[in-house]
Amino acid sequence: MFMPLPPMDDFLHQYRIQARRQIRRNLVGGHVTRRIGQSLEFRDYAPYYPGEDIRHVDWRATFRTHGGHAVHQSEKWLLRRYQSEERLQLLISLDLRETMHYPKQERRADPALLHSKAQIARWLSAALSSIAMEEGDMVVLHRLFGAELPPAEIRSRDQIDTVLDHLHSDELSEHFNQTQLESFLPPTAAWLIVTDFYFTEAAALIERVQSAPNWVIFVELDSWQAERAMLQTGARLVEGPFSAQKRVNVTDERMAEVEARIAERRRMVLESCPRADYTRWIWPTELLDDPIRFFRTQFAEDTVLQRLFMKDA
């Protein structure tokens, strides 16, 4: 049903390095910072990637492992990693309700939900988890609504898709899932909420975000423009999750009204959570022809998410 994140180690590593080069400024609220502690304890070696701090290259270990000619081959340099860096705990809450299974494109060669918001959300979760684990951070995945499943910690990159599949269920409930949430959301954790804002039972979620001292980031997956393009104009029988069939004369005026309602819902949530950061991934007006490219573009250009991996000022 869903496609796993395609191999993009180089892309993710570049992303991480790019983020590490930047300084996180003007951060609001309590959040975890990444520091280099005074007392550095060696942890292990890792391959060197261009852009990393060359001072941490262990030349002796490099020559011992690859020989003297390795000095000219940066890919063989070994980088020392230290234990005392504080680990980031990242909780990613995924909205996996049925509205996230849209838009749907019927292409026989593709998995059924390849072009959906849920697929992008999964890739986002997988990409962030991969980068975080590369940093030595802790990643926990959580189902935001519906089945009362406890959050699940990712212990290796191989577990990501397994855990994501575990979080999917056929339950249609929009009840905010708080099962064991407190255990995985210490005050220093960053809480990433990936959703389309089409939920109705927002009160419990808003209350929890308001009371959390965490750094909260809302990631909105906005497919309205694409769905508006599907409607065009004329007589339509509109169907969708959590709503009955409705005969509608689609006009620009009517669609502006619908867009206003969606914006009002968004505004209501964000204004209720003033300390939360917000980023929005907007679907194009055409149905996704290359979802992977869309994801990579959005992910690379999203400056809010990059902050997760920036250095402190």
Binding site: Y102, E227, V238
Partner: protein, 547 residues
């Protein structure tokens, strides 16, 4: 029909425009449409934006247009490049009239000329030869020209008449026949001594028709018919009439009557009228076989000598059960109660059970009964021929009541529901009010006598008399005994020949090309488009259902 279909198509388009097609769309933001007003407008909207101009719609429209085109072209045909070969059907008249010397030679000569012409065309040819008289039978089919002449030469005339409707039936069959052989008949040539009938002039069908009326008209005389004459209600007296006709000559010949042994019994001279027709009467002495011959023979022999047969006796046998025997005595009827031709009883007598005509006679024309007006009568009944109803109304007829009729049905009824005349069909039975009146009232005499003999004639006409002779048939074509060949018109050997068409018309270069209907082509295209539309709608994905 085309206009009707146009109206239907216009209605379909209007329906598309007026009834918006609510295309189904599934989206995640559907719940935000709950406050959007429903599309329940009652006004008619003729906007092209309502028309779902999908690929499927255009394919379906193309199907309709193809069907409309087929209707418009239903009467159109295109000439196809027909075969350049010659397909010929030669129908040869082999009826009795072709027995006239020289007729079959003329047929042979005409056939030879036909084959000569065909060979000169240097085209492939195939011929079918048939022989016709009262029916049409194939002698040889799909034959090469070489085999045809011998086949025609072998044709012998048969003692049968000529039914030209078999030629029309042949043309109809050939025009509608599906080609299953290589020999496609494009021309029919009729070789006969009969002049071309009028319908041949107007014939313009396929295959083409060439009527060759061959042979030489020759004078002849012949017997056209023999029938019983006289008697009737009074019983057949044994007299026969022999009708004769002269064709391009006077029929004033002697007609001889011979008995079964061939002995001459009588000879009468035929006296022709202005139309060259004559009649000779003979009195046959009794039952048996007789031969009637003409004193002169001519080119056509089938009507010069015929044999007839009659059954004895010739006098009427009547079982007369009324006390007054003056009438049967006057008519010289033979009293026979064992095997009568007719039973005459009074109205109070019981009807015999034998299957024999019965005449029921009422109680005279009584003057003690008050006269009454006629209320109802069967105007088609021959029993009322020549009757004066005014006389009847003054006659005070004593008839039967409705309850006394039995299986008789009324023919003449008065205002008091008294039946004056009634009949039954099986067995034949007639009720008459009484015997012919012999009193002073002449009108009543005439009325009662006419009525009585009308009834008598009606009853006696239902007797089945054996025919004097029978005609030959295709299953029994030979003249034998009283089976003779007196078919109507066959003896007219002097008919003026009239041909329609020439042998030279048979030419592959100018022969009428076949034409084929074209309406099935757009129908076939419509069917293919419909299959394509359905296939794409099922397997082509949503792009075949959306704009």
């Amino acid at each position: 029909m085309s206009a009707l279909l146009l109206v239907l198509i216009a209605g379909l388009v209007a329906l598309y425009l007026t009834c918006p097609h609510f295309r189904q769309v599934k989206i995640s933001s559907a719940r935000f449409f709950e406050e959007t007003p429903d599309a329940r407008d009652r006004t008619m909207r003729f906007r092209l934006s309502n028309l779902l101009l999908s690929r499927s719609f255009f394919l379906q429209l193309a199907v309709f247009l193809c069907l409309l085109l087929a209707l418009l072209l239903v009467d159109q045909e295109v000439a196809s490049d027909g075969q350049t070969s010659i397909g010929l059907w030669v129908a040869v008249d082999a009826s009795a009239s072709m027995s006239v010397p020289g007729q079959m030679n003329a047929i042979y000569d005409e056939t030879a000329a036909l084959l000569t012409h065909i060979s000169s065309l240097e085209a492939d040819s195939c011929l079918t030869i048939s022989r016709f008289h009262l029916d049409n039978s194939i002698l040889i089919a799909d034959a090469a020209p070489e085999a045809v002449l011998a086949q025609v030469q072998a044709i012998e005339p048969v003692a049968l008449g000529t039914d030209l409707s078999v030629i029309r039936a042949l043309l109809a069959r050939l025009s509608s026949q599906i080609e299953v052989t290589d020999c496609v008949i494009k021309h029919v040539v009729v070789l006969t001594d009969q002049p071309a009938p009028d319908w041949v002039d107007d014939y313009d069908g396929y295959p083409a028709l060439i009527w060759r009326s061959v042979g030489t008209p020759q004078p002849s005389i012949g017997i056209t018919g023999i029938r019983r004459v006289g008697g009737g209600a009074l019983g057949w007296s044994g007299e026969i009439a022999v009708d004769l006709a002269g064709y391009d000559r006077s029929p004033g010949v002697a007609v001889e009557l011979r008995d079964a042994s061939g002995a001459l019994m009588a000879s009468e001279r035929a006296v022709p009228d202005a139309d060259d027709r004559a009649r000779v009467l003979f009195q046959l002495p009794g039952g048996g076989n007789y031969t009637i011959t003409l004193s002169e023979t001519d080119v056509y022999g089938f009507d010069d000598r015929v044999m007839i047969a009659t059954d004895p006796p010739l006098q009427l046998r009547v079982d007369w059960q009324l006390p007054d025997r003056s009438l049967p005595d006057a008519l010289a009827w033979t009293q026979d109660s064992s095997a009568p031709d007719l039973v005459v009883i009074s109205a109070s007598s019981a009807v015999p059970e034998a299957d024999v005509p019965v005449l029921v006679v009422g109680d005279a024309y009584a003057s003690a009964v008050a006269s009454a007006e006629i209320a109802n009568f069967d105007e088609t009944s021959p029993l009322l021929d020549g009757l004066n109803f005014d006389v009847a109304e003054r006659a005070a007829i004593h008839g039967l009541t409705i309850s006394e009729l039995g299986n008789l049905r009324p023919v003449l009824v008065d205002t008091t529901d008294t039946v004056w005349l009634a009949i039954a069909d099986d067995p034949p039975k007639v009720y008459v009010p009484g015997l012919p009146y012999t009193g002073d009232d002449e009108n009543l005499q005439a009325f009662s006598t006419t009525l009585f003999f009308n009834a008598l004639r009606w009853l006696l006409d239902r007797r089945e008399l054996a025919p004097l002779y029978t005609l030959t048939t295709p299953t029994e074509p030979d003249v034998f005994g009283t089976r003779i060949a007196l078919h109507a018109g066959e003896g007219n050997t002097a008919q003026v020949r009239r041909s329609v068409g020439e042998i030279s018309q048979i030419d592959p270069a100018i022969q009428r090309s076949e034409s084929e209907p074209v309406w099935f082509l757009p129908v076939l295209l419509a069917a293919l488009l419909l299959v394509l539309d359905r296939y794409l709608s099922i397997f082509g994905g949503p792009r075949w259902r959306v704009r």
